[in-house]
């Protein structure tokens, strides 16, 4: 938020720089947004190959690890002098003699080394090929590492959070692209033609925006048959989320179209006999695409929150599919979170992802208008 314009700082380069170059320069000055960009990128990389970042098989159940608490990873070995090395202490399962409740005790006498790029369960990379190499792998398969603890079926919460990133983060992107398509088509028509069409479209947009989204989504999601395959369910939930999401983007697109419609270069193109389609896509769209991208970035976190809420309520994605909302369902009743507060950790992933995307989108919006500073 420095009020010095880019043009005064680098007058020679700014004069010839492309718009995207200017946006990038403006964006780079926004330190918080840059940090958010890196977090966002890191999370999408994890979402691309979750298997590589997972430690244990996210769907494998382990009866001996029910509500296994999180374990700390040690970076330095101070037991005999000082030494570098990754390891963790395995936990021993004992039972309370009276209640028979499971108690996990850290066995500090034993050490299990952690291997970087070691071998673990096998997974497929984007459906292209299978491998079993992981970023971190435990060397003792009988005493696995539970970084974020385990849930009531003994499944590794950390690996599930990593796996859930794929669905939760991609549903935001896919949903936004779907909304964008609807938004550009409907908002574009409305803003470009104006008049009666614009009037009707405005009423429709106002109407959609004044609806409370969650009840509508709930009603739509309740209509989905329970037995559908995961991919179909995923697509349907995305469509449901876009059903109301398009209106916001349509409004942005319309506003831009309206203000650009009267610009000289559009009038010039029209007088030259350029076709309508070419005017829209060749002349008008590039001049506001940066704004659209900024609004899109801000719409992604809203989609992620929506999916999380829906799945949490049990009407979104269904359990064999792993998403952050599905994981948070485990934290739904007070008894299980009282015994295993680490079941909140998927929520932390949601908060970080949404916050990073919000900050990134915010910085992008500020930078999107490099001439306006």
């Amino acid at each position: 938020m420095v009020d010095v314009s880019i043009a005064t700082l680098r007058p020679d380069r700014a004069a010839v720089a492309s718009q995207w170059q200017l946006i990038w320069w403006a964006f780079k000055r926004h330190r918080l947004a840059m940090a958010a960009l890196f977090v966002t990128l890191a999370m999408y990389i994890v979402a691309l190959v979750p298997g590589f970042f997972a430690i244990n098989d996210p769907i494998a159940q382990n009866a001996r690890a029910t509500f296994h608490p999180p374990q700390a990873v040690h970076f330095f070995d101070t037991s005999d002098g000082f030494d570098f090395g990754l390891y963790y202490h395995p936990m021993r399962l004992t039972r309370d003699p009276n209640t028979l409740a499971a108690i996990f005790i850290e066995d500090t006498s034993k050490k299990v080394p952690i291997q970087l790029f070691g071998r673990g369960f096998s997974y497929s990379v984007l459906g292209l090929f299978e491998t079993d190499i992981h970023l971190i792998a435990s060397t003792d398969k009988t005493r696995p590492l539970f970084l974020f603890g385990a849930d009531r079926l003994g499944r590794d919460v950390y690996s599930r959070v990593v796996q859930g990133a794929q669905v939760s983060l991609s549903i935001g992107l896919v949903g936004v692209f779907l909304s964008l398509f609807l938004g550009i088509v409907l908002g574009g028509i409305s803003g470009y033609y104006g008049g009666r069409i614009d009037f009707v479209m405005q009423r429709v947009i106002d109407f959609v925006l004044s609806l409370p989204t969650i009840p509508i989504w709930l009603a739509l999601a309740a209509a989905l048959p329970q037995g559908w395959p995961a991919t179909l369910q995923y697509m349907m939930i995305t469509i449901i989320l876009s059903f109301t999401g398009w209106a916001q983007l349509a409004r942005v697109v319309r506003g831009r179209f309206l203000s650009l419609r009267t610009e000289e270069f559009v009038a010039a193109a029209r007088l030259d006999g350029v076709s309508e389609g070419r005017i829209i896509f060749r002349h008008m769209l590039p001049s506001f695409s940066s704004h659209i991208i900024a609004s899109m970035t801000l719409a992604v976190p809203a989609m992620i929150l929506a999916e999380t809420s829906l799945s949490f309520l049990g009407l979104g994605l269904q359990p064999p599919t792993i998403s952050w909302g599905v994981l948070l369902r485990e934290a739904q009743n007070i008894r299980s979170i009282a015994t295993a507060p680490w079941l909140f950790l998927p929520g932390l992933a949601v908060v970080i992802a949404v916050m990073a995307l919000n900050l990134f989108g915010d910085g992008l919006r500020d930078a999107a208008d490099p001439y306006n500073k």
Binding site: M1, R203, D206, F207, L209, S210, L211, P212, T213, I214, P215, I216, L218, A219, L220, A222, A223, P225, P301, L305, T308, S309, F312, L313, L315, L328, A331, Q332, I334, I337, A338, P341, F344, G347, V350, V351, I352, V354, M355, N358, L359
Partner: protein, 328 residues
């Protein structure tokens, strides 16, 4: 002014019809109907329903008629008699089930709206006046946090803290002794002692965006010459703020009611389900799961109508305070 209000009221009619139709289509969407679900439930307890009984049931509930006829019957009943149909699951008229819950939904939404305003207004002004101060940064951090945390997660965490740290159950809106009691001063007080938690949760997520709107509006107004003039006149800083820039910055603030209310109601649905509040939301979810279509439809319709009325009120208020809008 009157012309504007009438025009705006006139627009409510198609909107309300669209909402009612939408609600009806939504509840018709699931494959099968209540009778199918009913038969499936009976079948799971080894009771067999033959085709004739099923057909009779459908006829009794009017489920065998085309959708448009069903819709017209439904809406006609609502408009003329306030009759929302029969809840299959509860075997009683929907209108007997919904009103108290809708009233509590409205109370929750209004209380959250007021709390949101009461928080966002001073914080937004403060952030703008003390731009780039530590307080401003702290509030900005808070707003980003508020925007990022799903309200149900906040509700869960607070429930966890209350249960584990203080040994208290914070769910519900009433203590057990008041739950079925008729309305009284004691019950009102009891409601207030329970209401603050969902209100606080909802306010955290909705103040976030409103603070940013308020801050931006104030920042637009503060450097304007009339502020300098007022300061030169010797007005105290507080009086100056309240008298001029605040009043102008409030304008877009009012228009935000239109989108704040749908957001609040959406959020309250999830929070109410988590905290098990006796508002419309938990029953809506339950009726959707059970395909109790008239009950679900009544809730969807009323909740949507509530937000439509909210945007109507916000438009009228806006026209009242801003002459440019009503003269347009």
């Amino acid at each position: 002014m009157l012309k504007f209000v009438i025009k705006r009221l006139f627009w409510m009619i198609p909107s309300l019809f669209a909402v009612s139709f939408l609600a009806f289509v939504l509840i018709q969407l699931p494959p099968g109907d209540f009778v199918t679900t009913y038969i499936a439930t009976l079948a799971s307890s080894n009771e067999v329903v033959d085709q004739n009984t099923a057909a009779q049931l459908r006829e009794r509930f009017g489920l065998d008629q085309p959708m448009l006829v069903q819709y017209l019957k439904w809406i006609w009943g609502i408009v003329t008699r306030g009759d929302f149909g029969l809840s299959f699951e509860w075997q009683q008229p929907v209108s007997g089930l919904i009103w108290e819950r809708m009233a509590l939904t409205l109370v929750l939404a209004l209380a959250s709206l007021i709390a949101t305003w009461a928080l966002a207004l001073p914080i937004g002004v403060y952030s703008a006046v003390k731009k780039y101060s530590i307080g401003d940064y702290a509030f900005t951090a808070f707003t980003f946090f508020g925007l990022s945390i799903p309200s149900f997660l906040l509700a869960l965490v607070l429930m966890y803290v209350a249960a584990v740290e203080f040994g208290q159950d914070v769910g519900g809106l009433f203590s057990s002794q008041y739950e079925t009691a008729p309305w009284s001063i004691g019950k009102m007080y009891d409601l207030l002692t329970h209401l603050w938690l969902p209100v606080a949760i909802l306010a955290v997520s909705s103040t976030a965006s409103l603070i940013r709107v308020m801050r931006a509006n104030m920042l637009d107004e503060l450097p304007k010459p009339y502020v300098t003039t007022a300061r030169a006149k010797g007005l105290s800083e507080f009086r100056l703020l309240v008298k001029y820039p605040l009043r102008i910055a409030l304008n877009p603030f009012i228009s935000t009611i239109a989108w704040l209310l749908p957001n609040l109601i959406s959020g309250s649905v999830v929070v109410a389900i988590v905290l098990n509040l006796p508002t419309a939301a938990p029953l809506l979810l339950q009726s959707l799961m059970a395909q109790d279509m008239y009950l679900a439809g009544a809730f969807v319709l009323l909740i949507c109508a509530l937000t439509l009325i909210g945007s109507l009120i916000s438009d009228i208020l806006l026209a009242l305070v801003d002459p440019r809008i009503r003269l347009e």
